[in-house]
Symmetry: C2
Subunit: 436 residues, 2 copies
């Protein structure tokens, strides 16, 4: 992509309304634009990051045999009356009346809807277990939306649902998602600590939040320091095997969000206790028959007896993650994208676009990087070098390849790693071979 | 994917509420499930087709340099008050009030929102032309939703917007989309005839609908029969070259939807006139300064003068296309997917899963097809052969590979092409090499 034609409306000034660094940087880097309070349009650069995160989440869901589908954004109120949550949910639920005076709502989550689909589609224990997910926009009418995409009103969530015949099966499904989440967040460049959590309006008695450590986090957290050095993404886990020992390895270490903290346990930890603030990026729930009971979702077992389904649900805040990753990875000059979610891999900077040599060298590098799938963003604009460096640092691509007339005379270009800022003078071929 | 674990709730009976064949087949094939009137959940099989169509639409947008972004589903009413459409739009617009009594609406289209983003982001003629698109769920509160996803309320649309400095530039952008749409629909296995069309609530004076011929179509259409034999997808068009001759080649032939028909022209055509019914799958508009004027969206030209942007918008009904393709491609036993959008390429049918030889042969074929990216759906269930054949015909995968004990004795399997029904006995290796 050439910057001269790319729709990247960066801002030089820091927007006054943004209170936290990820919100400021997303606005300044031209990733999002606010449409109304807590509702954002994703501009091309932001959209690319969102899609990269979504792709990693999707791959890890698919890997555990979870099947993708797509439920609509608007749901009939009657479903929520069946579960009893229509009145419970309060003013955060966006309630809508259509032209025929029927009550709809903009889904904040989908337990009722997936239970409804399942009860009409599956009759036999032979069709269990089943894991289903979708990645869809949700709405929660926050009283005071803030922090940009971190606490917006319209947000993109991956929510998955598990259906099992008995509690042991449901626990196996829960463990799959637990381990899947460890892998997912590690691939996104994050260490998300699983923490015993309150189940809130979803319900059930087994639940973990996945929380990344960040000073700007909304919740206070406390955890055993060993959790920071555990192996989060073992490559060779058999997802159909017994995952309980892996889950136990994490959950036996103390880790708790605000509401779940335990003074006695914390005192016993002594120096091993770390306290701080965190950002919730995932939340998993085992809620047994809470919905299947109220909504009469059953299957026939081997004897033909109707059995209420054991269920769980498993959320990841996909749009929130864009902000959370920035909170965890930035410096004074801008964003530092982990390689896995970077919108482009390389920023190719032409210091003198009106110089024939620079232009020829850049066009050649650009073509070769494109051909090799290197996803270059080519700054071919007539702008001062200072502006180009500042914008490239701001948008935070992992690599910068700087081409100027002085270097070209001796056959070199400069390769800069955004994280750490290391710079090297290399021949054009050596630079290319580092990037391809 | 193994059918024994796949979430594919097919129906044996034809649902009474479905009036047209695509709706019946999508329900029977377990592709969708109605959530409320005109609102559907996409089950895994339907979701795969939706994603295939979306990917083709995306590739062709990217090819003309159109940049992807994503606008939210909910929009502030004030934007539509600026353009004057808030009151004009009528009861098809779903109007929403949030907890702070602010007026929102579920976007039926995005002219206002993209104009708003653009006026704050682009100031100079040097940043033009610009083409932007998104693929997002929309809502139109149809008084009588029907025909399944063909006239639903919540629907997935690709809408693109062009911004140019002058009318000649806007016409070049319009032509790009015109040719892009010919290619897009051809890749989807459709012949979509461009027809001069009414501009309706979008506005402007230049507009074409892209209409596929189908008996169940909602609009009457009339066109020159030569349009059916034109080349819709020339591979080597330079999208940055002069596209006017290609556009003229289509538009000089008579073709009109109901409101635009001309009795005199039709009489002159004589035998060359074809009349019938059609389904609109795309619609493009050049509306000049209609929105930029009302919303004061300008750029500075070379002399520093403020110029109102020349705009157009370009829609494709992504979810509607799933139904439209089925209307155009099915037989008495089920769907016949064009290869480009098929949810799986091959249905592998094991006629006797409890036979060791059949199971071994199938597992081997399944592994090899998967490894080669052949996207097999493996019917490994304990079911009667008749049920398996009927379901595979119903869901309409392009190829069926049938493995039974009798064939295996002589080292053969049966390969059936769904379109046309041709069957051949082949060795396992020959069958594989046809499919990989």
């Amino acid at each position: 992509m050439r910057l001269s034609t790319y729709f990247l409306p960066t801002l030089r000034e820091t927007p006054a309304e943004a209170q936290i660094v990820s919100h400021r940087l997303m606005l300044r880097a031209g990733m999002i634009r606010q449409s109304s309070a807590g509702i954002y349009a994703w501009l091309p650069l932001g959209f690319r990051v969102l899609k990269k995160i979504e792709a990693i989440v999707r791959e890890e869901q698919d890997r555990i045999g979870c099947q993708e589908m797509l439920m609509p954004t608007l749901q009939p109120a009657d479903l929520w009356r069946e579960s009893g949550r229509y009145d419970d949910y309060g003013p955060e639920m966006l309630r809508i009346t259509d032209r025929h005076e029927r009550d709809l709502l903009y889904g904040p989550t989908n337990e009722e809807q997936i239970t409804d689909i399942f009860r009409y589609s599956v009759q036999s224990y032979r069709q269990l277990p089943k894991l289903l997910y979708h990645i869809q926009w949700k709405f929660r009418d926050e009283i005071r939306p803030r922090f940009g995409v971190m606490r917006g009103r319209e947000f993109l969530m991956k929510d998955a649902y598990s259906f099992d015949l008995d509690a042991a099966g449901a626990r196996r499904s829960y463990n799959k998602f637990f381990v899947c989440y460890l892998r997912t967040f590690a691939r996104l460049g994050l260490r998300a600590i699983p923490m015993r959590a309150d189940t809130g309006p979803i319900g059930g008695d087994l639940s973990h939040e996945f929380v990344i450590v960040a000073e700007t986090g909304e919740s206070e957290i406390a955890y055993h320091r060993d959790l920071l050095s555990m192996d989060w993404a073992e490559a060779h886990i058999d997802m159909d095997g017994d995952l309980q020992p892996i889950v136990d390895g994490f959950t036996e270490k103390y880790a708790a969000t605000d509401e779940e903290r335990d003074a006695a346990q914390e005192a016993a930890l002594g120096d091993a206790l770390v306290t701080g603030r965190g950002i919730e990026v995932g939340h998993i729930f085992n809620f047994g028959t809470k919905y299947s009971g109220k909504m009469n979702a059953t299957v026939r077992d081997q004897e033909g007896k109707a059995i209420q389904l054991e269920m769980g649900s498993y959320g990841i805040g996909v749009s929130r993650l864009v902000g959370a990753i920035i909170e965890a990875s930035h410096d004074d000059t801008g964003i530092i994208w982990p390689d896995s979610v970077a919108p482009f891999k390389v920023g190719l900077i032409n210091l003198k676009p009106d110089d024939d040599g620079c232009r020829t060298a850049c066009e050649d590098l650009y073509a070769k990087l494109q051909a090799a799938g290197g996803a270059p963003l080519y700054d071919d604009r007539e702008e001062r070098a200072g502006v180009k460096f500042a914008e490239m640092d701001l948008i935070g691509l992992p690599w910068q390849l700087v081409v100027g007339p002085r270097g070209l005379k001796s056959g070199t270009v400069e390769l800069k790693r955004r994280a750490g800022g290391e710079r090297r003078e290399l021949s054009l071929d050596s630079a290319l071979s580092e990037l391809i």
